[in-house]
């Protein structure tokens, strides 16, 4: 069989058309990795500059009331991700800026997509665009004629008479085409690694390997299926049209249909419904700004009792800070409930979408590619959770300063000094570790593996019935 694979490769290497296609593809891949990297770097620079600018503003606060500072707030920018130069995922639609302030949990705003008119429905020229959409087509074009050509020319008959097993011939064809895909995939990953050599860590390596594995499985599925059709049908045009049809349905048709459908199956609330529900729940809590609020009064009594005093003026602390923190904590519960519900709906949507991989392995590939590149919605949600966690610490620090920093209740003119503001830590994004989110992508990998086994079974079963003439 290796002899046949070698022979196939000799043919592939000598084919002028293939040389042209390979060269063009490699060029496009090189350009995509280079430009992807350029964009990631320029984003990283912009991110660092913006972050530094805002931090400098924060640290330059000479003196400010802590609650005033909570309203002054800060901003968190979504950092660029090294692997997003391979697959950008949801980055361009999710917004880049998140305001962190007291009382309210804001949302990411100012997405890249909203800052210009439509350009590309399928995203930027990232490696994933070429690896997901174009390379599979090249593999189909390489494989659809592979066995039928041998039949038509009579070579298959000769090969079988020479003692070659039809199954070996079919496997040799599949592996040759698959290897071609793997070579281009490897070159992409290697080019990417070369560009980012200093930044490569164990985490990035493991993610890249999983990224590689997903594509390798998908390419085998496509190569195997196409060779199978080529072996089953005498007419190569039928094999080509069938595979083109499958490619269209898998790549263009079903992802859109399923993605749109899962959003209908597991419906997200409209912004207005969501805001109204949040507002209603929030109104049941303490009004941090209103001293006359009944629930605030209860808390006041509790604190007075705790400190063994009769009035707020006797308190050694500033009750306003405590009330605002209590309000904040209630708000956090409301946020957890409503955003938790949103995240659950999104998770259910994702699970349903992943199941569509049963009939469309492209969906599994797309999920895995985005996931392993750390640019899917799950990673985005993880980022949002980190920001929210930071927001809570940030506001608590300010409220605590207001309460215990030395001011008395009702004194809104009291100001914390610059040393305090400098001591408030900046947001530091901890990239999500693959190990912690890997189970979310197991379904995609399993489905890709199942499809791989299915393609292999088809090849074994199909070639038993192969007609030599």
């Amino acid at each position: 069989m290796w002899l046949m694979i070698k022979n196939e490769w000799q043919f592939l290497l000598r084919s002028r058309v293939l040389q042209g296609i390979s060269l063009a593809f490699l060029l496009a891949l090189g350009v995509s990795v280079y430009l992807g990297n350029l964009q990631t770097n320029s984003q990283a620079e912009q991110y660092a500059a913006a972050k530094e600018h805002l931090r400098a503003q924060w640290e330059s606060i000479d003196a400010m009331n802590p609650h005033g500072a909570a309203h002054y707030g800060t901003y968190v920018f979504k950092p660029s991700n090294l692997l997003s130069s391979l697959d950008e995922g949801v980055r361009s639609v999710t917004g880049n800026v998140l305001r962190v302030e007291g009382h309210v949990q804001n949302e990411m705003v100012h997405s890249e997509a909203s800052q210009m008119q439509s350009v590309s429905k399928f995203g930027k020229l990232k490696s994933s665009l070429l690896l997901q959409y174009i390379l599979p087509l090249v593999l189909v074009f390489l494989a659809f004629h592979s066995v039928s050509k041998e039949k038509q020319s009579g070579r298959l008959k000769s090969l079988v008479l020479q003692g070659a097993k039809p199954s070996s011939i079919v496997w040799a064809k599949t592996i040759s085409v698959w290897l071609y895909g793997l070579v281009l995939l490897s070159l992409t990953v290697l080019t990417y690694a070369l560009f980012n050599l200093p930044s490569i860590s164990a985490e990035i390596t493991s993610r890249t390997l999983l990224f590689y594995l997903s594509y390798a499985l998908y390419y085998f599925i496509l190569s195997g299926l196409t060779v199978f059709f080529s072996a089953r049908w005498q007419n190569p045009t039928v094999a080509l049209t069938a595979m083109l049809g499958i490619w269209i349905v898998w790549t263009i048709f079903l992802p859109n249909i399923f993605m749109t459908s899962v959003e209908k199956w597991h419906e997200l609330p409209s912004r207005e419904e969501f805001k109204t529900a949040m507002r209603e729940d929030r109104s049941k809590g303490i009004d941090g700004h209103n001293p006359a609020d009944a629930r605030g009064k209860e808390l006041e009594d509790q604190i007075l009792k705790e400190y063994g005093v009769d009035s707020l003026s006797q308190l050694p602390i500033n009750f306003d800070g405590i009330r605002m923190q209590a309000d904040e904590e209630y708000g956090n519960k409301v946020w957890d409930k409503h955003f938790g519900h949103l995240r659950n709906v999104l998770a259910r949507q994702k699970q349903s979408y992943q199941m569509a991989g049963i009939i469309d392995p492209f969906i599994s590939l797309q999920n895995a590619s985005m996931g392993f590149s750390g640019s899917d919605n799950l990673h985005h949600q993880e980022f949002l959770l980190q920001v929210e966690s930071y927001r809570r610490d940030f506001i608590k620090m300010l409220n605590d300063k207001h309460a215990y920093g030395g001011s008395k209740t009702g004194d809104w003119s009291w100001k914390a000094d610059n040393a305090f503001f400098k001591s408030v830590p900046d947001f530091a994004y901890q990239p999500t570790a693959m190990a912690s989110v890997f189970p979310n992508y197991l379904a995609d990998l399993i489905l890709l593996a199942c499809w791989t086994v299915f393609a292999a079974v088809l090849l074994v079963w199909g070639t038993k019935r192969i007609q030599v003439i």
């Binding site: 913006a50 909203s114 008119q117 749109t260």
Partner: protein
Amino acid sequence: MSILDIFLFEWKHFSRNPFKVVALLLFLVAAAYGLHHGASLYHEQTATIDVIKTQAAEERQKYISYFDEGKKGPEDRPWIDLTTPFWAIWYNGIYHFKAPSPALVYSIGQAEQYGFYKRVTFWASPYDSDMTQEIANPERLQTGTLDFAFALLFLLPLLLLILLYNLRSAEAEQGFLPLIEVQAISQNTWLLSRVAFYVALLFVAIAALLVYGAFLTPVFSSAPAAFGRMLLFSSFYLLFWSVIFYFIIRSGKSIMGNALNMAGVWLVFVFLIPGLVHQWVSIKKPANLMTEFIDATRDEQEKLFNQPDSVIQAQLDALFPEIVDSPVARDSTKRNLAMNRSSSALANELKKSSIGVIEADNQTKNELIRSTYWFNPIAFFQNQLNAISESHYDHYQHYRDQIQRLIDKQIRTMVLDTWNGVKVDKEQFLHYNKNLVP
């Protein structure tokens, strides 16, 4: 052979090829699904707008009732005094909507990337966080929405590819092209007529889909021109691909070669060129992190309000020369409150200047994209369709401009009436509503 004869025979060719028939049916199903999706978004947005309008009207009514009851405002919030222009305008609950065009049924465009309702207040800005998109799954936004425009822009060329790829090349491959040539018909006429059959077939399919879509939303009654323009651009688009594919099949000699060339052109136009342009624009003009706007709404504003009163007053006087000799300006007991309430006008000016920078940046990106239209036809057609369905960037920009004008108008009214000491009664409250609600 008459063209009708060729059409009739081509119908046989088509109808007896299950692969082609299934491809057409799949396209029709996808396009109809897309139309329903567009219609559902139209109805959702319309319903949301109705709900907000109702809520705003109810809230307004609640505040009007205070006038009837002879109260200044809610008792639990004593600081609210509806007899002052500031609170009367604030509680008029003024919203501005971007009502969806019925043509949204055809192209969702960028409608899901922006907010479509906005509470307009003195402190509002068109770049507030509530102007962001509806809650949606970002992966769906990224994968793309299956609307009619998607079916038209991306699936139609594939359908055309499937319908046309073996015309002439099948005859050439099987060796009976000479037999056809010998029948004395011009090759061009023969091939053109056959291609024309499929173009006509798809034209009818598109027209039927557009009519179907027009029944899902009130296109004919509310936006009849959109229907005509959509049909026109769809036809241009169909013609664009037909011409490209015609030249490929005219010069191609093998089915595989044709399929390869047609798919190659499709890949280049659909994936490579737009992807490259998108990447290029992103490198040339990276996503704006809005630091100018952040600075304007935070630091600059902070600095502004920390200035001495005399400086703030001077700035207000420069902005509204009418208030210099106003009754409140002459009354030192009321001046400070009026100045505080008018401060939003200065903050608004700060925000406007930062927005100018951001929008100029966005316009540069749009110009960059437009400059690629001559080799990036899909982006051209995509944006044309978005423009027809009023879901193009420019329409949302126009919406933001309208919001800004409303903010300006609201602030101006509030400032002038505050400084002129206008006492708001029920009639004046309603007058604000009439004047300030778009």
